[in-house]
């Protein structure tokens, strides 16, 4: 074994050659660019297939665990806390409460959006407390959104619905 620790205060030096995006574009450094064509087909499984079918019918479906009593939304086939199968299907309301929200100015690729989107975690009425659901808010000014605001789902027309979370266009403030 090599012996003796060098007396250095760390890090004494750091290596690495910084380059700019332009250096690549202008060919100052050599590189290889790869655009693979990768596709996936993701099965929804038992619980979510039924949930998506419910959305098409304009219903929000949940499942219940009789052991802990939780009504879980979105539904699942097993209770992850009790680790046992769920006991029954039930319907929850299409109204809820904003738990938290954000006003997003960027798209998934971090590019600026023309119009900001308001995204929220909504506790849906009829499900157990804190069964949050992430979705978009609409028909409201970003400055008027607050935590605790009551909201209601705005559905696409029956013919437009295709069994996707986007069958709900957005959630709007519940008047009164």
């Amino acid at each position: 074994m090599a012996v003796g620790k060098k007396d250095i205060s760390c890090p004494p030096y750091v290596k690495g050659r910084e380059i700019k995006a332009e250096d690549i574009k202008e060919g100052k450094v050599t590189y290889w660019e790869h655009h693979p064509d990768i596709r996936y087909s993701f099965t929804a499984g038992q619980a979510i297939s039924r949930f998506l079918k419910g959305l098409k019918e304009g219903k929000l479906l949940a499942t219940k665990c009789d052991h802990c009593g939780r009504i879980m939304f979105p539904p699942r086939m097993f209770c992850e806390l009790c680790f046992r199968p769920v006991d029954e299907w039930c319907e929850v309301k299409d109204t809820g409460v904003v738990e938290t929200f954000s006003v997003s100015y960027i798209d998934p690729d971090a590019k600026p959006l023309e119009e900001p989107v308001i995204v929220a975690v909504i506790s849906v009425d009829g499900a157990s407390p804190k069964m949050g659901f992430m979705h978009i808010l609409g028909e409201v000014d970003p400055d008027d959104v607050y935590i605790g605001m009551k909201v209601k789902a705005v559905w696409k027309s029956e013919s437009e619905r295709e069994g996707s979370v986007t069958d709900i266009k957005y959630w709007k403030p519940l008047e009164g």
Binding site: W32, R39, W89
Partner: protein, 156 residues
């Protein structure tokens, strides 16, 4: 119990299709940059020799992976010997290739390393393991500093 009320009609089960819309730009790194620039600008082949154990890496690296010493660049001829070869009749997507491609592992002269590349200007029946080959490069104007600047290797 819900667990037993499974959906059995396959038409009722949903799936979602999607595409991974990412692409990657890989810089060739400190050693790779030297290697590809020498290939592009001068048509030369570089390898890297460990300053401690003398092992010569091809393609070059800035370090020796066994004793973690620095390396120094050395010029090599680019010629080598076929260690193994394969005749590809299908492409990446398992479609038939009109002209089968011959791929080989080529042990590079003067190094402990090798390269995987195409063989050209020969028939598959004529290739032997141990055969001497040399690289055929694109013309200087066409070269981009990539592995495809080498068109193929042909018999010496």
């Amino acid at each position: 119990m819900v667990f037993n009320e499974k959906i059995v009609d396959a038409g009722e089960l949903k799936h979602i299709e999607g595409k991974i819309e990412l692409y990657w730009i890989y810089t060739s790194g400190e050693a790779g940059d030297r290697f590809f620039k020498a290939l592009k600008d001068e048509g030369k082949f570089l390898a890297a020799k460990c300053t401690c154990c003398g092992k010569t890496y091809f393609p070059p690296r800035i370090y020796c992976e066994y004793d973690f010493s620095e390396t120094e660049f050395v010029e090599i001829s680019g010629e080598g010997c076929v260690r193994a070869f394969a005749v590809a009749t299908l492409d990446n997507n398992e479609e038939s290739l009109k002209n089968p491609e011959i791929y080989a592992i080529i042990d590079m002269d003067g190094t402990d390393g090798c390269i995987i590349h195409l063989l050209g200007e020969m028939d598959a029946e004529d290739i032997r393991v141990g055969m001497k080959v040399k690289p055929v490069l694109k013309s200087k104007e066409e070269r981009e500093g990539r592995i495809t600047d080498i068109l193929y290797f042909k018999p010496v």
